[in-house]
């Protein structure tokens, strides 16, 4: 690929990513956010490809766009928040403050990168890779390095995923025969019998708190 083409693609994709990212964090409706996030991830994987990380680029697309974001959308659909369920966003001052913080973070990071000695003599384009037996970024090369150099981590990740599975199951499973607590959860508001004082308290708190998000009141109490 010729350098100018790389420049152009990068510029376009980066711009896309920036815009999409900004949209992700500013859209009120989470579905839009999710969709824009997919765009960000997509542009990312494009950049990865540009950076000769072929395998990773595809993994990015698969896992992020394909799996994680689907999960998000799935959950969004599952809970199906109506307009009223969407939380009132913070006041402008809050946003300004958050924005200020984020901007400052960016400034400092920018400064760091800017001041870095290593990066100041950075060539405009990445150095050309020596042509070896395997191509850089290919699945084979990637896999070999992964299993030789990072075997332990690879195994550990399996535990990580296992924990994730167990956790997700434990947290989101609705009820078990012998575990009454979750079943109550869902019906607690409409259940004729309150099982404990504690819950009554909880509910009372909800009602107390409700006026703050005044628009939601109706929706919050609805099942």
């Amino acid at each position: 690929m010729s350098p100018w083409l790389q420049h152009t693609i990068f510029a376009v994709v980066a711009a896309l990513a920036v815009i999409a990212a900004l949209l992700v964090v500013t859209r009120r409706n989470p579905i839009y956010s999710a969709l824009f996030l997919i765009i960000v991830f997509g542009s990312m994987s494009a950049i990865f490809l540009l950076l000769e990380a072929d395998f990773l680029g595809f993994m990015q697309l698969l896992v992020y766009a394909g799996a994680i974001m689907v999960l998000y959308l799935f959950v969004i659909m599952l809970i199906n928040p109506r307009e009223g369920d969407l939380p009132e966003e913070g006041a402008t001052s809050d946003r300004v403050f958050a924005g200020g913080t984020a901007a400052l973070v960016f400034c400092l990071l920018w400064f760091t990168i800017h001041e870095s000695k290593m990066l100041t003599d950075d060539p405009v384009i990445f150095p050309t890779l020596p042509s070896l037996g395997r191509s850089h970024g290919s699945t084979e090369a990637f896999g070999l390095e992964l299993f030789h150099e990072h075997l332990l981590v690879f195994e550990l990740v399996s535990v990580l995923i296992l924990v994730g599975i167990v956790g997700a199951v434990h947290l989101s499973i609705r009820a078990r025969k012998s575990a009454p607590e979750d079943s109550v959860e869902l019906t607690s508001d409409s259940s004729p019998v309150d099982r404990s004082e504690d819950r009554a308290e909880d509910r009372a708190e909800d009602i107390d708190r409700a006026p703050r998000g005044s628009g939601n009141q109706e929706d919050v109490t609805r099942v």
Partner: protein, 673 residues
Amino acid sequence: MEANLIWIPLLPFLGFLLNGMLGKRFGPRFVSWVGALTPIAAFLVALKVFLQVKETGALHQHVFDWIKLSGVPLSFEPVPDLVIHSGFSAPFGLLADPISVVMCLVITGVGSLIHLYSIDYMRGDRGFHRYFAYLNLFMAFMLILVLGDNLLLLFVGWEGVGLCSYLLIGFWFEDSANASAGRKAFIVNRIGDFGMLLAIFLCQKYFGTIDTREIGAKCAEGLGADGGFLGLNLGTWIALLMFLGAAGKSAQIPLYVWLPDAMAGPTPVSALIHAATMVTSGVYLCCRMMPVFEAAPFALEVIAGVGAATALLAALIALSQNDIKKVLAYSTVSQLGYMFFAIGMGAYGAAFFHLVTHAFFKALLFLGSGSVIHAMHHEQDMRKMGGLRRQLPFTHATYLIGTLAIAGVPLFAGFFSKDEILFAGYERAFGHDPSTLAGVFWAGTLLTAGLTAFYMLRSVAMTFWGESRVAPELAPKVHEPGRWIGVALFVLAALSLVGGFIGVPEILGGHHALDHFTRLSPDHSVLPEAQLDKLHSMEWTSLILSVLVGLGGLAAAFYLYGPGRGLLRKLVEENRTIARMRQWSEDKFYVDELYDFFVVKPVVLSSMLMWMLIDRLLIDTILVRGSASATRGLGNFFRRMQSGFVPAYLLTFGCGALVLLFIMLSLWKESGS
């Protein structure tokens, strides 16, 4: 010379132990035997010692090392230093020299009599054994006081007798007033002891010793004249501080106020402790430390002034007291003032002489009054007596002897001693080195002599003469007291009659046996003839003056209070000015009230205030609790920062990271580039 002196104080102490521990169980008979026999035994020992001393001079016994610090650190080079001495030694050593052995005789002698007297007087009291235990203990301490060869041991006795005095004044403690009186006595004495302690410290610091003989020697060498501070030399400071102690114990201005109150105790106690022995220990101290005082002329002037003033003031108060014991108490204060006046005049011998005779006649008077009180079932108000001569002839006789003795009627004991004191003042005022100040003091004491005669006869008249004012239901029960009381009164009366003869001055043909023995007075015989003659003529003048004043006082009292002389009394009573003065005198010139207002109340109130303001409010509430609540407040502030809102948490995180990042980068910028 070494001798076995320890038995003198030990015997009464044994009596104390026996009575205190077993007295209650074995009953009053046992108690009276033990109580009376131990002082008598001590008296006998003292007598033996006296004879020995007379023969061979002072005796000494080192019983054991009481407090001893070697003081010089082991590897120290001994630095000879004349100013400050290290190391400290206070042995339990007893010294029987002429003064102390005479004191011992007086104490054990009079004490024995009073013990005997008490057997009758205290009969039937619930605290009979307690009483005798205290009394025996008192004897022991008093003897330690006089025999102690160093100031600290003397101080042991000094405080010990104070303790016994405290216990005996408050003997009938169910009455708050008695308990208060005891407390007052102890506390006022403590103020004096404060001076005493400081005097001991000074001696220790600058003389390196507290042995009385060594201090005397050092003072005689003139060591006391150098050093010093605040414009007074060392000797003066020591003398003044010792005098403060003496003033406390011997009831001198400004610390005399406890003694009249001390009459709350049983009368024999008043006789023994508050008349004959303990209160004179101040005088004894001055005599013992004579070299110190000799080296401090300024202190002597102060002492003389205080003594004279006390004598006069107490006599004035005594004029109008109605409580028979109060009269005697003020009289005691007054007589003690006399003695200090004598010391101030440098007449230690005279003071000591008066001490001894005073012990006789004042004990007699007190015991006599006790006899009356006993007969009257503890009625002490003379306005409710009168005419007792008929029921109590023996008591009357002895009391009268005592009165005449104190009034200085010639040939009675008081005559010789008082005369000697007055003469000393006269000689200082008008002798070879005339001094106006001494003249004023002397005039005061002369006046006091008259007043003394006056109020004493007044008390005789009010008690024994005239119409009976005894409460009718009491009158038939009044009778002469028991056997032992009579014995004691008799012996003391005899001593009051003839006791003066131990110190008959040269002009009356005597040779001043006591002075010769104690060597407290300068030997006049070495003076040139002319001077001696002049002295003698002055002595005559003084003697006649004093006798006249004394008789005048007696006469005045006789005319005012004697039988059938109501008219004159009425005249006196109806005069406004005199009545007001009388009132002042009767109210003791409001000294107690002044003390209460200017000393006691401020101390208590300021303590209260300090407690409330400094202790409770400032320290405890503001500082301690305040800092605690401030910390908790800060804690609550941090708690409130934990708002529970995730955005806030995240913002804290973000800002924290930001700040750290910023600092890191600026530090890097600063150092690296």
